[in-house]
């Protein structure tokens, strides 16, 4: 077993396609929630091998993309403060704020560093005790436990110069908001594999129970996605609605209780702002009282008033209401070298994926 090639086997793929063709009779629209799924679907040409009446639409599952402008502007304002080091995951660098980006600020000489793991932020804070180190805590439930661990570790080691710009998001409340708004027709969800590794199946139950839609937690390899689609199509044809797991080799019904406990040691649920979707109750985390001193939102800092490009459709794209090809800016003004909206920046952004593969 090499754990990669086995999940990209052409013959098995053909078999799954035949089953999907045989099972599926109705036109359906399925949403892949996660940006990693979108990339995989395009990278392996999955759309062209599916029957025409099965449509895939992309959802709000790219953490960089859903981060609202106000938070990016705050990060930029912080980077301009004296003795501040901003540490961030790489894909935040190019995201345009209202008038600047972290990449532009870095070129102006601000101290902004790319890291690959939350714990690297601790290392930098220890190395520069005279500076305030601000970690941009962006991400879904997959990243949150590692951020929580970094916070717990900072407390343990009595680090007083490490702070967090907390813009983490929780996936299920966003799906609730999407279904509730009824702006887009979704017949079934391809649910994110890695987020579900942490949270399990429980937080998604409302999709089936309240809205009567099926959903399948799916892995990221082409065979995973094809099998996930087949499972969804079967449920739809049988008028079933339940939350199933395709990605059994990684995801357990109960998720990862240890990781969840770490999150709630430090954070509690709270409203969060999503680009395109606005403020959604319980869709983020806020610091618990005892950890509030690490919240960068306590800093006194002047942030410019936020504005977005009036023609940018990222908000609609994130909800699956529009596709990038419907945007006037796409490919003409907005491209990876000059991204207007965040969906063109992140390698998991829907616009970036369309640009690269379509």
């Amino acid at each position: 077993m090499k754990f990669i090639d086995e999940f990209r086997d052409k013959e098995i793929a053909k078999g799954l396609i035949r089953r999907i063709q045989k099972t599926s009779t109705r036109p359906v629209q399925l949403m892949e929630v996660c940006g990693t799924h979108t990339v995989s679907i395009f990278r392996y040409g999955i759309r062209d091998i599916l029957p025409n009446h099965i449509k895939l639409i992309s959802g709000p599952g790219c953490p960089v993309c859903v981060t609202p402008n106000v938070d990016i502007d705050l990060a930029i304002a912080l980077s301009r403060q004296k003795d501040v080091i901003i540490v961030t995951f790489g894909d935040m660098m190019k995201v345009p704020g209202s008038t600047s980006s972290l990449q532009k600020e870095k070129a102006e000489g601000r101290d902004i560093r790319i890291i690959y793991s939350s714990l690297e932020a601790l290392k930098i804070a220890k190395e520069y005790p005279g500076k305030r180190v601000v970690f941009l805590a962006i991400g879904f439930e997959t990243t949150s436990p590692t951020i929580a661990v970094a916070i717990l570790r900072a407390r343990e080691e009595k680090l007083h110069n490490l702070f967090f710009l907390n813009s983490q998001k929780r996936v299920p409340p966003a799906l609730y908001a999407l279904l509730h708004s009824q702006q887009v027709k979704v017949d079934g969800f391809i649910l994110p594999g890695h987020v579900s590794t942490i949270i399990g199946t429980d937080p998604y139950q409302f999709i089936a129970k309240e809205f009567g839609k099926p959903a399948v937690i799916t892995g990221f390899e082409p065979l995973d996605i094809l099998q996930g689609i087949w499972m969804l199509v079967q449920q739809i044809e049988e008028n079933q609605a339940s939350i199933e797991i395709q990605y059994r080799r990684v995801v357990h019904e109960n998720g990862n209780p240890i990781a969840i406990n770490k999150i709630y040691e430090v954070f509690e649920k709270g409203e969060s702002d999503w680009r395109g979707l606005g403020g959604i109750p319980d869709s983020g985390y806020r610091f618990k009282e005892s950890y509030k001193e690490m919240d960068v939102r306590n800093f006194e800092v002047e942030v410019e008033p936020s504005k977005e490009h009036p023609e940018c459709l990222c908000g609609e794209v994130l909800q699956g209401i529009k596709i990038p090809l419907e945007c006037h800016l796409f490919k003409k003004v907005c491209h990876p070298e000059n991204p207007i909206g965040p969906c063109m920046v992140s390698i998991e952004g829907t616009c970036h994926t369309y640009y690269k593969y379509q």
Binding site: A13, L223, P336, Y357
Partner: protein, 336 residues
């Protein structure tokens, strides 16, 4: 003993500059064209066309598994000459050194340049060293320019691809960029990750000996296979189809790509080539490639088509297809 460092005076043109040349460069590079140390090298003209190219090397880190900036500076320029069918003959060598750089490391790099040049059979016939203040350059930058004589009867160019031609690749993709990346970021991956940095002149020579009629050769460096194929498709005004399951990638590189969300088709290589040849030559050419140590993982990866002009279509592993575009948007760290 204190480590010897490069001082600004080493680049002043005075005594220390001369010492540097006599003690570090000349012993390694001595040859009749260089030795007079005149302001220019005198080269006697031969018959035929000459190829002339230049490239600068700013890789970080300067030592990496499988090579160093010196080896890279020779291979990169030698490969550029080789790709248009030239036999590399002479190189210039210019160094921009940051004040305070270790003389011991400089010696190691110069020795690596010597060793690689010797292997290729090129002479370093002229050179220059400048030293800049601490912070004005990152350790060491190298520029090499190269001259080679183009083999008679050979016409390699990105303009030459024709519908029906076959596309060959000499080996596994992405080794160089992944080796540099993991070294720089301190990723500790299991398994051996080495840059493929190597001079391709001998492999090219063997291939051209058998088929001087090869249409085009390119080394897919920055931007990777995908970008290079797009360049050729555009220049020749043709389409291409590539079979994903034929593209060789080492398991370790594949694994890291999965982990970091990278696509091996866009990663830089420093010791691989793409060859485009008439269809009836492909199989024999593949054999010649595979007989050479730098081509043992060679594969026939696709063909040139009349349709889809200026586009490269990838047939994916699971039977779908997608457009393989040029690299866009991603940042280049200093990989070469």
């Amino acid at each position: 003993m204190r480590e010897e460092k490069i001082l600004l005076a080493h680049g002043s043109g005075g005594k220390l500059s001369h010492d540097l040349i006599r003690q570090i460069f000349l012993p390694q590079f001595a040859n009749p064209i260089l030795e007079p140390l005149d302001d220019s090298a005198k080269i006697t003209n031969r018959q035929g066309s000459i190829a002339f190219t230049t490239d600068s090397y700013v890789v970080n880190p300067i030592f990496f598994p499988g090579g160093d900036i010196g080896k890279l500076a020779v291979c990169g320029t030698v490969n550029d000459l080789s790709m248009i069918g030239a036999i590399p003959s002479y190189l210039s060598l210019s160094l921009i050194v940051e004040e305070g750089f270790s003389i011991e490391l400089l010696k190691q790099i110069v020795s690596s340049i010597h060793e690689t040049a010797e292997k290729v059979g090129v002479s370093i016939v002229t050179g220059d060293t400048k030293v800049v203040e601490h912070g004005a350059a990152d350790q060491l930058f190298i520029n090499t320019a190269g001259i080679g004589w183009i083999r008679p009867g050979v016409n390699l160019s990105g303009l030459n691809a024709k519908p029906g031609d076959k596309i060959l690749l000499s080996g596994c993709l992405g080794d160089h960029e992944i080796a540099i990346l993991s070294q720089r970021e301190g990723f500790k991956f299991q398994g051996e990750l080495r840059s493929d940095c190597a001079p391709l002149n001998d492999l090219v020579g063997k291939m051209l000996d058998v088929y001087p009629s090869i249409r085009c050769m390119r080394d897919p460096t920055r931007g990777g296979l995908a970008t290079t194929l797009n360049e050729i498709a555009t220049m020749s005004n043709v389409g291409m189809t590539i079979e994903e399951d034929k593209i060789p990638v080492h398991e370790s590189v594949k694994g890291i790509c999965e982990l970091l969300g990278l696509d091996p088709l866009y990663l830089a290589n420093e010791g691989k080539l793409i060859a485009i040849c008439p269809p009836d030559e492909a199989e024999r050419l593949l054999e010649v490639m595979r007989d050479h140590p730098l081509g043992i993982h060679g594969e026939l990866i696709g063909k040139v088509t009349e349709e889809n002009s200026k586009r490269v279509i990838l047939h994916t592993l699971i039977g779908g297809h997608r457009i393989l575009d040029m690299l866009t948007g991603d940042q280049y760290p200093r990989i070469c």
